[in-house]
């Protein structure tokens, strides 16, 4: 499959480009039916967004002149595979005064990069660590 960049005219994908939409288990959008659900051929896993879909939406957002929205979708694409408890742990650590030093955030960034291949998110957390240090946010609030 050659790499194509999606544009505004491909949107909405489910309607205009069902050929590029598939669930985590490889099902097409037309496979997600009530019958499928009742017979357990379709599960909750098929009703989740995929990294690929988020990257596709990022391409569309960029084509529509919304680069920051595209970046958010790309960060989201990296987070699809990050478990909920890890997400909530890192989120908690990013709140003011939760991390007691820059190192805690840098360790979280490393985990995201190494374990979940979330390079953009990792850089984002590292950037936060720098700013928090400069703004003296590493102090306990409760």
């Amino acid at each position: 499959m050659t790499k194509e960049t999606l544009s505004v005219s491909d949107y909405p994908l489910a309607e205009k480009r069902p050929d590029v939409v598939e669930t985590k288990t490889g099902k097409g959008i037309e496979d997600i039916t009530l019958d499928g659900l009742l017979s357990d051929r379709v599960t909750l896993e098929d009703l989740r967004i995929t990294s690929r879909a988020l990257r596709q939406q990022a391409e569309i957002a960029r084509a529509a002149g919304r680069p920051t929205l595209a970046q958010n979708f790309e960060r989201g694409a990296e987070m699809v595979g990050v478990p909920q408890d890890v997400i909530m742990r890192v989120y908690e650590l990013l709140r003011p005064g939760r991390a007691s030093s820059k190192d805690e955030l840098l360790a979280a960034a490393m985990e995201l990069r190494d374990t979940y291949h979330a390079a953009k998110i990792a850089s984002f957390v590292e950037e936060a660590a720098d700013v928090y240090e400069r703004r003296a946010l590493f102090k306990r609030r409760y």
């Binding site: 949107y11 489910a14 309607e15 939409v21 659900l37 909750l44 939406q57 929205l69 989120y91 936060a128």
Partner: protein
Amino acid sequence: MTEETHARANRWKRFSDWDDRPLRLDQFAVEDPANGFAAFKSPYDPKPELGIGGRLVESMDGVAARDFDMIDVFIARYHIDPEVAPEAMAMPSTEVARMLVDMNVPRSELVRLAHGMTPAKLADVVSQLSSLEIAFAYGKMRARKTPGNQAHVTNAKDDPLQMAADAATAVAFGFDEIETTMRVARNAWSNAVACAVGAAVGRWGTLFQCSSEEAEELKIGMAGFTSYAETVSVYGTEKSFIDGDDTPWSKAFLAAAYASRGIKMRCTSGAGSELLMGFHDRKSLLYLEARCLCLQRAMGVQGTQNGGIDGAPVTCTVPGGMRELMAENLIAVWLDLECASGNDARATESEIRVGAKILPYLIAGSDLICSGFGSILKYDNSFNASLLNGEELEDYLVLQRDFEADGGLTPIGETRVMDLRSRAVDALSAVLEELNLAKPTTDMKQSVIAASGSDETRTFSGRDVAAISEAIKDREITVVDVIKALAKRGFNEEAENLLNLVRLRVSGDYLQTSAVIRDGRVLSAVNDPNDYRGPGTGYRISDARRDEIVAIRDVLTRQDVLRVEARHKSAESSRILYNAIGPATAAKDRRDVVIGISPAFGVKLFRTVAGHPLSAVLRAIIAGINEGGCAARIVRMRHTADTSFLGLSAARLAGSGVGIGIQAKGTAVIHQKDRLPHNNLELFSNAPITKLDHYKSMGANAASYALGEMPEPIIVPTRGEAMGSRFHARISLIYAIETEMISEGATPEEIEITFLGAAT
């Protein structure tokens, strides 16, 4: 009278009247920038400025990069586009302001320039605009072409049955999104299931949010019950942000987390939040909000819930507060963000201020005009009362019709609402039973279906609801279980509807800016961009949509009027006989007073707009004339139906020179033969409040004038009722029946009347 005997009043009593009006419950605050009370301008606001070296921001709005706080850093790094900034910052603010209201400057050009503007610059530009210009620019700049609306669906008991019924009702009224929250935090899961099921009744596509604690909200979203979130708040000062227990990075991380779970998400910010939190840095409300909005674009969220929100009431205490709320919304859409434009807090006790607040949004349109509209009664709103609530929903429907403006809602009939509410309660009951969560009784269900609010329901106890909610959470019940339960119990349509909504996640189409679902299709700023370029462009109400909007209940037709008159015809025929006995002639008798009745009087029309049978009115007038010592003669005019001419024609036939003219709707006049048509003796123009006693006194006064006396004129007391709004549609239709019977040049007819039976 002397000063000594009468104490000198020290107050004009009108002020006491004003004290009693709801407006005076509102508090107003003096403009005081040093204490944060300034809408548009504070002497402590920075001048717009941007220093760029290479591609790096070196200073912004008077702050050097080394002194940037977290918000500055984030905006400088992610919002400011260094390619555009030099050009955008160099443009005079007045010129940019003019571009905002110039229909020939495309929206895309303005959005491009906004990418290069600092918060102070954006604030400086919009502050050049009047309220009218802001509203116009908002209509031009908002991202999605088709306007929409959002509802609050909550109740004081966290009752899932009522939640389902009210969700279905809100969906039927046309809301694109519904948002719930709880009185008790642990009831979140019960609310989520109830609203998700209720919103699947009738049609599909309404997005749903359960506003709760961040981690819980994400979990509920992951279980598939909710489809959007808007609780991610940001603030315009660093200290407020920290007290809000977040940073731009933690919030942006959360934004990405929502995207990764396929949940549509917008941030929340609004004027006054920093003021309420005590860290306003002496800056104007608009400048702080401009910072919030640049930050949101920088974070990459698709949209914002903006326009005061919880800070709207305090913003409305300062001069220009409402204009400021409009101005911040304008910055939001100029930054190309979806805007759920506030109008969601009861910012005033004055219904006039409520109506004034909503109007610019209604006529300009907005992605979501309210965020949200209280679809339930005020006391049931767990977010606190909204600007508009269940009590006032019909007022809003009528405003749509008045201005032919699409406020996102559609009137629905009584039968349809009852069907949907029953269906929603039955569907949710089936789910609760099928999943062994609860067994609602028939009495519970019936009380909820009919209830306007939770005061009227006999339903689950607080303890029951908590048990339901905790069971859903502990047993990890997901939307798949709920869909299966619906299908198993025969609610296939609802099962399909719910599945359709959840299936949207797979492609993520509804994560794009300003996405809503209409008729099963995702509609967003990508495939439905606002293309306003002047009259005939942008959003226009289609004929079909107009038909929906105008179809409010209880509208009067000519057929209704004729039907009512026909009902009274037979009753009147048993009370009075009108017998035409030939052309009327002028009499000589000085005691002769003529009552000139209109063409349709007792022929096609049978009672006044006050509801008096015309026989009773004639009886009263004649009695008055007789008691005044004169004799009444009835003459039917066929050449005119106008009160003045009826009265003058009657007076000219009367031996006394005094006549009464009366129309079937009850409007009457006492006239004298040598006066000009519209210069009568006494006019009784307020027929809806004219009583039989007044008609009798009118007869007595006519007799008095006939005898050359000068009686006290009859006053029909009015309390300033809006007679026109209450009666003019009916009166116009009735009067048309009179004018249709006019025959030009026809001579007046003498009428002999016979009263049958006793007076009524």
